[in-house]
Point group: C2
Chain length 203, copies 2
């Protein structure tokens, strides 16, 4: 029967395939890799991938959803706290950058294959992606209401600029356009918030 042990083993196998998929997608890209590459990387038979996932797409869907839901949850959570806007935005930036530091391959896949691929996969997840933007916009609105942020820049717009800056920095790390390390990661957190809130103008 489907005992707890069986369930755990199944979850482990599933994880094994997902982890392999992350490595393969990061290395070769979703479109360029074959399902057999994932199976080989995971050390399982081709058909087993289809035992755990409906299709190749479903594997990427799972990777994206599992991770993205954490982010939207965090955004909502942060907004509920009683903090200065800067701290809220810093918390979001930290979360994203730490996600990258912790698992660069997974973040590469999510950004390159989903978030930035709004034509193919992003289209499917547009609602979820939008949810993150909207959450950030809400935070900005609260900051505006509290008099912390200027009101002549719409919250939707500010959210796009903020998120766009973060994603561009991650992308520049992913493709080695800017150097990445512990130091750079910490600096980036401050710099992004500082740029967006403080602006580039000399004082």
């Amino acid at each position: 029967m489907a005992t707890a042990k069986n369930g755990a083993a199944a979850a482990e196998r599933r994880r094994q395939i997902l982890d392999a998929a992350v490595r393969v997608f990061a290395r070769q890209g979703f479109h360029t890799c074959r399902v057999s590459d994932i199976a080989d990387e995971a050390g399982v038979a081709y058909g087993l991938v289809y035992h755990y996932f409906r299709s190749k797409d479903a594997v990427l869907d799972t990777l994206f959803r599992d991770r993205w839901s954490l982010m939207t949850a965090l955004i909502e959570d942060v907004d509920r706290q009683d903090l200065p806007v800067r701290d809220k935005l810093h918390a979001i930036t930290s979360f994203i950058i730490d996600s990258y530091r912790h698992d660069p391959e997974l973040m590469k896949v999510i950004i390159v294959e989903v978030t930035r691929a709004a034509n193919s996969f992003g289209q499917t997840h547009l609602t979820e992606i939008r949810k993150a933007y909207d959450g950030i916009a809400t935070i900005v609105e609260h900051g505006q209401a509290a008099g912390e942020l200027r009101t002549d820049i719409t919250s939707q717009f500010a959210a796009m600029a903020f998120y766009g800056a973060i994603e561009q920095v991650l992308t520049s790390w992913i493709f080695d356009l800017l150097p990445f390390g512990e130091v750079e990661a910490e600096q980036a957190k401050t710099l992004i918030v500082e740029t967006i809130c403080g602006g580039l103008d000399a004082k």
Copy 2:
């Protein structure tokens, strides 16, 4: 022989195919469309696409290079002028947004299929893309040297934040996350520069 008339006719045919490709890529995406879709859209035979282009990739390459080279040229040109940094950044923002206003489908293709698809096509054009980032960074450096911009934010970083903000706004238009029109386009130009230079903080 290859007379001037023949040459002109050939250029026209080539253009015809390129224009069709823009429409098809914008509608269906590069990976999802077939070469026959481009041929059908252009009203020519399948094989003719291969008479004018080495491969399907070459069509997209051409579209990207033709447009992107204009942008890097503009960036270099703007930097040579004696203007306040804000005006320089405004000029770049204007150019990109006007490009979108003038030919949204072409810009959609370039952003979605190349710039934001650094894994597949972007990889091929990484050098050209980088050239634009570097050009913006140079402008920031000159602004810093002139005392117009703060120096505690590195120019590379500032360039990423600036470009990232622009691209995110375009992306939000492309996928109908924000409304687009003449008014929004003009507002966006000011807002992007204002956000990046002035910052979101209330004064």
